[in-house]
């Protein structure tokens, strides 16, 4: 069992508090019409942050679904900067700069799991050390891609860490309508790989589970499926009203097990956290977020960025369309 050091636990909590603070601000910005749809982080912090802290950012890849970016600060400030561009609908939001090993958000559920297997497989072929850690939800585990990718990962013995973030809800669909299986971790048996169920509100437990899966993968022992059991404390997104379907008593019980409060209280007891640390972290989180939003708003965007990066070189058709687009714009502005 690998327990994160005090210093690591403190860094993990800084990232968790940062993510929650920024998520709350983004929610408000969305309500003010300043950013697009937001998927709140509340309840997911320990799982995502601790998993990221168990990785070697230089070699290990993170393949997210869509809720993770605010909690991936460990991979660099560019993650937040690009995520804000993404939230505002700027195309550069999908370009996380080289050499950061994080893929952009994936909206099509579960489709990123095959990508993770391909990356892991590719690293083995190129004799590169490293693992591919892929996040997906309880709902995504019902997609065919989960089964095809898990199966291929097992057959190839690929260094993949599959993290099923079970937050109990796929928008309004509860887990018992998602699967008849006892647990999502049990599905690993069908792939012939280990399945581990972990308390996803316990940062140290998640860290340990990912660390062990990573070490197995690097030792050539193949993939692991980790189910991190948490509870979605907020809405699915800003477009969702969970009061329509989340039983209030369940939510109240989950709030008592809030991962941020849990780690905060632990670290306070250990003398690793206090009001000043909390305040300093929140202030910095908001500064970073506001600056990222401001930068994203003022990022330049040329009209024909619409057509850039479709192909390496414009086809005849795209070249025609590019001149038509520019011509139409210059006529409009004349």
């Amino acid at each position: 069992m690998t327990i994160p050091s005090d210093a690591q636990l403190r860094e993990i909590l800084v990232d968790m508090v940062t993510a929650r603070t920024q998520s709350a601000r983004l929610w408000n910005l969305q309500r003010q019409g300043q950013v697009g749809t937001v998927a709140p982080i509340d309840g997911h912090e320990a799982t995502i942050v601790a998993a990221a802290h168990a990785l070697d950012t230089e070699h290990d890849w993170v393949i997210p679904q869509y809720r993770e970016p605010l909690a991936l600060r460990r991979y660099g400030p560019e993650i937040l900067e690009r995520f804000m561009l993404y939230s505002l609908g700027h195309p550069a939001g999908g370009h996380i700069p080289d050499p950061i090993r994080v893929l952009p958000n994936q909206i099509s559920l579960g489709t990123q799991i095959p990508h993770a297997v391909g990356i892991a497989w590719g690293m083995v072929l190129r004799s590169e050390p490293g693992v591919a850690l892929v996040f997906f939800g309880d709902g995504s585990s019902s997609e065919g891609d989960f089964y095809e990718a898990g199966n291929l990962a097992g057959v190839l013995n690929a260094p993949v860490v599959m993290v099923c973030v079970n937050n109990q809800w796929a928008i309004s669909t509860p887990v018992h309508l998602q699967t008849a299986a006892e647990s999502f971790a049990d599905k690993a048996a069908g792939f012939g790989i280990p399945g581990v169920k972990v308390d996803g509100n316990d940062a140290a437990a998640v860290y340990d589970a990912v660390d062990e899966a990573r070490k197995r993968a690097l030792a050539g022992k193949g993939p692991t499926l980790i189910e991190a059991v948490i509870y979605r404390l907020g809405a699915h997104t800003t477009a969702d009203d969970p009061t329509r379907y989340v039983p209030p008593e369940d939510l109240e019980a989950a709030q008592r097990d809030d991962p941020v409060l849990r780690l905060t209280s632990q670290l306070r007891k250990l003398g690793l956290w206090d009001d000043a640390a909390q305040q300093e972290t929140e202030v910095e989180a908001l500064e970073l977020l506001d600056r990222a939003v401001e930068d994203a708003r003022s990022a330049p965007l040329a009209v024909d960025a619409l057509l850039d990066h479709c192909f390496s070189v414009d086809t005849q058709r795209l070249a025609l369309q590019r001149s038509q687009l520019l011509e139409a714009r210059s006529t409009e502005t004349r």
Binding site: P97, H115, E148, C310
Partner: protein, 335 residues
């Protein structure tokens, strides 16, 4: 003195042999090239297109996958991100429906959605097309569905030489390519293939027959039938040009416009259903580029708007020489 490696020698090969030879050459040339798919390694592919690769390049570069079209396509995204050059096989194009969300939703948009961070050097090979009495879902001509997917190139060779030159270009191309191989052409098309490195650029059409009275525009195996039709009509004194598009994305708009402007009459031939087939796109391209040079409405020869039929009905469905000739005569007589 002549350099033996620079010889302009040719060898007569079937399209299948040309494809196999090219895969060998590209794997030897670039160790980032990996081949994956169902039955591609130990069995050498169900048509033997990948024969000998496993023996020569080993189990790490030539990989038999589970029967999982979605993850075959999806893994190519990850392999490309990791810096490899995947050449995946979908055993029959009809099975690509099970990979459509990865091909259209992911492979095709990797460059665009990451704004060029990742180079999707991905080739997906798949046989398709009629004439060999396959079971259901093996013969469907789905190219128009993929041409409608932005970011994906769709390459469809008609000759053995082009199969080599276009496949080599596709594998070396930094964009994702769907490389479609006509089932009837595997052993039914043969021709001289250059021995040396041979590249045919993507997006440059080929004049398969010279002619002035009318042009037949088509791609893949239908080029063979169009050429037979042109040769047969030539004996009656009709001068029929055949334009082989070679790839429908990128489309050689200039070559279409030039040929139609010159001839004034055109017939577009495709194996797929009529509605929404790629012929419609070619005709719209003609309208955009050279409508006023037309002397008659452009004709279409297509399959019918039904699912690809079972074997005993196949010959009624797939365009043949007679239907092409009839369309040419109709177009020459009208206007």
């Amino acid at each position: 003195m002549a350099d033996p490696f620079e010889s302009d020698g040719v060898t007569e090969l079937t399209m299948l042999q040309a494809i196999n030879e090219t895969l060998h050459a590209e794997m030897a040339r670039d160790d980032r090239v990996v081949v994956l798919g169902e039955d591609v390694a130990r069995n050498g592919g169900v048509f033997r297109a990948t024969e000998g690769l496993y023996e020569k390049f080993g189990e790490h570069r030539v990989v038999d996958t589970p029967i999982s079209e979605a993850v075959i396509a999806g893994a190519t995204v990850g392999l490309a991100i990791a810096g490899l050059v995947p050449v995946a096989e979908i055993q029959f194009l009809g099975f690509s429906y099970q990979a459509m969300h990865q091909l259209a939703g992911q492979v095709a948009r990797l460059r665009y959605r990451t704004q060029g961070r990742y180079e999707p050097s991905i080739t997906i090979r798949a046989p398709f097309g009629g004439g060999v009495r396959t079971p259901e879902l093996h013969s469907d001509s789905l190219e128009a569905q993929f041409a409608n997917v932005a970011g994906l190139k769709v390459v469809m060779p008609a000759t053995a030489s082009d199969a080599k030159g276009l496949l080599a270009s596709s594998i070396r191309d930094p964009d994702p390519v769907l490389f479609l191989e006509p089932l009837r052409g595997y052993r039914g098309i043969r021709g001289d293939v250059p021995d040396n490195d041979h590249l045919v650029p993507l997006g440059v059409a080929r004049t398969a027959r010279e002619g002035d009275d009318i042009v037949i525009i088509t791609w893949s195996y239908q080029v063979e039938l169009a050429c037979r039709a042109a040769d047969s009509l030539r004996s009656e004194g009709l001068s029929v040009r055949v334009l082989d598009l070679r790839s429908i994305v990128p489309l050689d708009i200039g070559a279409i416009t030039e040929a139609v402007s010159h001839c004034g009459r055109a017939v577009v031939v495709q194996e797929s259903c009529e509605t929404g087939g790629f012929a419609s796109e070619v005709i719209a391209t003609i309208n955009d580029g050279c409508f006023w040079s037309l002397e008659a409405p452009v004709a279409r020869v297509s399959g019918y708007d039904v699912p690809y039929p079972v074997g005993m009905l196949e010959d009624l469905y797939v365009p043949d020489e007679a239907r092409i000739i009839a369309a040419v005569r109709r177009t020459l007589e009208s206007g």
